[in-house]
């Protein structure tokens, strides 16, 4: 099962999150994993919306009960990684809880960032 959504400046975040919520409900995850995955997707969508002109989010649920979430954007990359890893740091005037939360909520996390954009791959185990 796969869901892919485009995130743009004009996007209504609440509408996108509803799409994600319905998709995750269809998978039938247990409550804890459902809430964590929805939170993870919310952080990723907010990051794209706040920091970049355009991006996308895809969620894939595979037979081996692994949820793979990929967020890609065409922004200018993560400028100061040292600061981005710290709680409370934000360049978008938000609460700045995004990136540390993404790290904590992911079982596996891979990020590639450059001046051409950022790709974040989060993996969650259902088990």
């Amino acid at each position: 099962m796969t869901l892919k959504i485009e995130v743009e400046q004009s996007s209504q975040i609440s509408v996108l999150l509803e799409l994600v919520r319905v998709f995750l409900m269809q998978i039938g995850l247990n409550e804890r994993i459902f809430v964590e995955t929805l939170t993870l997707c919310s952080e990723l969508i907010n990051n794209i919306h706040s920091h970049t002109p355009k991006g996308s989010l895809s969620i894939k649920y595979s037979d081996d009960k692994i949820i793979t979430i990929v967020a890609s954007d065409s922004g200018s990359g993560i400028k100061n990684i040292d600061k981005a890893l710290k709680e409370g740091y934000s360049t978008a005037g938000s609460l700045g809880i995004g990136f540390p939360s993404i790290i904590r909520l992911s079982n596996e996390l891979f990020v590639v960032t450059s001046i051409r954009g950022t790709k974040i791959t989060c993996i969650k185990y259902e088990k």
Partner: protein
């Protein structure tokens, strides 16, 4: 608050083709307040004093710029006149202490392997030669470290192939034992050779405990 040195088990083995003065392979592993810093390089050529001198120059420049963003430092080294004469394969990395993240940039022919749950995968590198030709944009890579993750980093003086590696890695090996075994078994013997092994020893719950301590919960 927590014992940093138990977080990481790192060891590097370097075998110069001739001697250490002419060796182009180099490694830096040092500790700062918030992170460990790791750099591995392979200067073009071997058995020449000039090659060794460029390796020492790179080491000095890196040590003087540990706080600089990794991609910026790679570009700075790329522009060094002496590096432009010989070429360089370079990986710069940080391992953060308060969050389980390995950050790296890497350009050139280096083997970077992640061993996780007995599966070996190749980590991201970019093609090119520092000093000669590098990509138009340098990728900075971040990876969350999981307990018992092993990172194996080697220059082209070793021929590491995943299928051959798989049978040689045991879960309870120390980084020292594994790096020494890899050097013995995979050294091609006609170049400088370097292999480093980093083992990550802490789990996610360790960082939750740290966060709670900072917030005064515990």
């Amino acid at each position: 608050m927590y014992q940093v040195r138990k977080m990481i088990d790192f060891n590097v083995v370097i075998e110069p083709f001739v001697d250490s003065a002419t060796c182009g392979d180099f490694c830096i592993f040092t500790e700062k307040e918030d992170y460990f810093y790791l750099a591995i390089g392979d200067v073009g050529g071997h058995g020449s004093v000039n090659t060794g001198n460029v390796a020492r120059l790179c080491t000095d420049v890196i040590m003087q710029n540990l706080d600089k963003p990794l991609d910026e430092l790679l570009l700075q080294i790329h522009s060094l006149e002496d590096v432009r004469k010989r070429g360089l394969v370079l990986m710069l990395a940080r391992v953060y202490k308060k969050t389980p993240i390995f950050e790296h940039v890497c350009v050139g022919n280096m083997k970077l392997k992640l061993v996780r749950h007995s599966v070996i995968s190749d980590m991201s590198i970019q093609e090119g030669i520092v000093g000669y030709q590098i990509p138009t944009h340098i990728n900075t890579n971040l990876m969350k470290l999981n307990k018992k993750d092993r990172l194996i980093m080697a220059t082209d003086g070793l021929s590491l192939y995943n299928d051959k590696l798989k049978d040689r890695i045991e879960s309870d090996q120390t980084s020292k034992a594994l790096s020494e075994m890899l050097m013995t078994d995979f050294n091609r013997k006609h170049d400088d050779a370097l292999v480093g092994v980093l083992t990550w020893n802490v789990s996610d719950s360790h960082f939750v405990a740290i966060k709670n301590t900072y917030q005064g919960v515990q």
